[in-house]
């Protein structure tokens, strides 16, 4: 019988009640209300039926059993109070819901189960209800109702009331359901709905036939249609004519249960203009897993597209500038050097062939021409190598810097075997750098050290590294001519020289090149010097380019940024 009741079929309680007709009415009303408070109503009906039975309890023991089992089978808490508001009957669920043992509830005022702040008004409300005609209604329609647990915590409830006239007076039954979970689910649903509504993206639901069933404010903003205008219409109104096939393919994929992820395309707005969007569409299934439609998120990527175009344009410009520079370098290399070769060459030939016809002064002047042409050739070469540093792309790989220093110094030593220079190279210092560029930088730095120790007795060149504040700092130190720190900044400027060409020859490009190479790696380079006391060049090669946002390890001084 209970199973039958759970299935909510109208039943007659044959023999269970002294007035069968009344019971039948209760169950019929239950059926009418099924669309609403089904469960609550069901048990209000049960209680009502039970009470009617209860009236005959004393006369019929088997009815007592039937009633009790009906009451206990109810999933809702049932509390029945008399006219004075005292609890006269509860079920197990009521004990559990409110946390009181049955003994504590029986005879207690029903206000015990109500939060303190509602208690004062409750007896009046209860009396109003008891005298009215209608047998049953949901309590406090439209109000938030709360129960109070013995431990003091409150919980949201739904209550259905039943009013019963018995031989012992008017009883009021209440079937109470804890709706905490449903409230939480509702809240979650409202929150999600609010999120969908407030999203800047268009969030659209559609059937698998492409009929729009949901349309948020983002969609309105992006496409220009209000939800009133678009609901029930086909998404094809949003598709530019030449992309109609695209949408049918999307719908076909969705119908196969496939997802479409960040598909960049073009859609049409209400005003006919086109808009770049990124689409993400997923099939939507019902609880049984059957496909019932699709959700689609369209993000306005006009800004991104514009940025992409701008970037591509800037890249084009940069590339064409780079090509121009390349062409320029090429022509510098070829065209400027050729006349120099002529000047130098013919002066030299003149010098060689007519040596005996020239006096010492004449030979000296011709020598000047030869030397100057040679020097200009060197300057052009240096400029070209400086340009090359900017042009080539960085190819980072682990490079043994100690080895680079050793090789560079070995080359310098073999070119001037008569010189004695003490070398000290800390082994195995490496960094993640472009090998070719870094070699150029080290060639320049070592050549610098080599050159400026040329007049030093007991010349010494050292290469070492030390960690400072989590950063590995490389140093190339010499005990040569040094420089005045007042000019430290000029050191790295192209063509700036702190020594006369007579003292120490050079192009003034070497250190500028080295600096440019270190900078291209995101590193720093600086110099310390004392006149006639040597120079030290410090530089860093960070593991990551600092242009990629904040450097890792900031704020955690313990982390070392070793370059290995």
């Amino acid at each position: 019988m209970l199973n039958d009741l759970r299935a909510s079929r109208p039943q007659t309680f044959a023999g269970a009640s002294p007035s069968g007709e009344q019971l039948l009415v209760e169950l019929a009303s239950l059926r009418r209300q099924r669309m609403g408070l089904t469960g609550v109503t069901l048990f209000a009906a049960l209680v009502t039926a039970g009470l009617l039975v209860a009236g005959s309890v004393r006369r019929n023991g088997s009815s007592e059993t039937t009633f009790r089992s009906l009451l206990e089978a109810a999933p809702d808490a049932v509390v029945i109070v008399d006219e004075a508001g005292h609890i006269i009957l509860v079920n197990n669920q009521a004990e559990q819901l409110f946390g009181y043992p049955r003994a504590e509830l029986m005879g207690a005022p029903v206000e015990l189960l109500i939060p303190q702040r509602f208690r004062a008004k409750h007896p009046g409300q209860r009396k109003d209800y008891a005298v009215q005609r209608r047998a049953r209604r949901p309590m406090g329609s439209g109000l938030e109702l709360y129960g109070r647990h013995k431990d003091g915590h409150e919980f949201p409830v739904e209550i259905s009331l039943g009013r019963l006239e018995t031989e012992n007076g008017i009883y009021v039954s209440s079937a109470i359901r804890d709706v905490s979970e449903r409230k939480a689910a509702d809240e979650q649903r409202f929150r999600l709905a609010a999120i969908v509504e407030s999203s800047g993206d268009a969030i659209i639901a559609k059937t698998l036939q492409g009929i729009i069933t949901s349309w948020n404010q983002g969609a309105e903003r992006i496409f220009g249609y209000t939800s009133e205008e678009i609901l029930g219409k086909s998404v094809s109104v949003l598709i530019p004519r030449e992309r109609e096939r695209e949408e049918s393919e999307i719908l076909a994929s969705l119908a196969r249960g496939e997802r479409i992820d960040q598909f960049d395309t073009v859609r049409r707005r209400k005003d006919g203009s086109e808009i770049h969007v990124s689409l993400t569409a997923s099939p939507v299934r019902d609880a049984q897993g059957a496909l019932i439609g699709a959700s689609k998120i369209a993000r306005d990527i006009t800004q991104r597209k514009r940025a992409e175009w701008d970037l591509a344009h800037a890249k084009d410009l940069a590339e064409s500038a780079s090509r121009e520079l390349e062409a320029f370098s090429y022509s510098v290399a070829h065209d400027l050097r050729a006349p120099l070769r002529g000047m130098n060459g013919f002066a030299q030939v003149l010098l060689d062939t007519y040596q005996d016809k020239l006096d010492a002064e004449g030979r000296d002047w011709l020598n000047e021409i030869v030397l100057n042409a040679k020097r200009m050739g060197e300057l052009i070469d240096a400029l070209l190598s400086l340009a090359r540093v900017t042009r080539n792309e960085l190819k980072r790989e682990p490079v043994d810097l100690s080895e680079l220093v050793r090789e560079a110094l070995a080359r310098l030593a073999s070119a001037e075997p008569e010189r004695t220079v003490e070398l000290s190279i800390q082994p195995n210092l490496s960094a993640n750098v472009d090998l070719r560029l870094t070699r150029v930088a080290f060639d320049n730095l070592t050549a610098n050290a080599w050159k400026f120790t040329g007049k030093t007795v007991g010349a010494r060149i050292e290469f070492a590294a030390a960690e400072q504040q989590g950063e590995l700092i490389f140093s190339l130190k010499d005990n040569g001519a040094g420089f005045d720190m007042a000019f430290a900044k000029k050191l790295f400027a192209p063509f700036q020289r702190l020594h006369s060409a007579h003292e120490f020859p050079g192009t003034g490009i070497g250190l500028a090149t080295a600096q440019r190479i270190v900078h291209r790696h995101g590193g720093r380079i600086w110099a310390e010097g004392i006149v006639d006391g040597g120079a030290t060049f410090h530089f860093t090669f960070p593991t990551r380019s600092s242009s990629n946002g904040p450097r890792e390890g900031q704020g955690s001084p313990a982390r070392s940024e070793t370059a290995s």
Partner: protein, 148 residues
Amino acid sequence: MNKTILLVEDNSSDEKLTLLAFKSCGIAHDSFVVRDGAAALDYLFATGAYAHREPASLPTVVLLDLKLPKVDGLEVLRQIRADQRTKLLPVVVLTSSREEEDVVRSYSFGANAYLRKPVEFAAFAQAARALGLFWLQWNEIPPAGAVS
């Protein structure tokens, strides 16, 4: 067979200096000079202005500048390598450029050597002498008419 050097050079100063350098080692009279790429091809294939030439008589070595009027050096090199008659002809690229791309392209087009003209005449003369001596005196050239 007469041993000659074909010098393809459009800069008259460079031409004179190269010849002066050859003269200093006694090989100047073995040189023939053309001033653009088209002339170089006509000379080698005995066409155009050089139609009267005996096509089988090839120079021992071609010294080829890259930047040339009409037909540039790399194109000259490509056509030399594409033709059965000149496929094995030694070609030395002699140019101002030290651009890596030029070096790589010259070798990949089949150059036998790549020499950058130094600004300094002393060095240039030394290189030209070494070049002339190597190709005219030391190097064994492929037998006439040989194809591989």
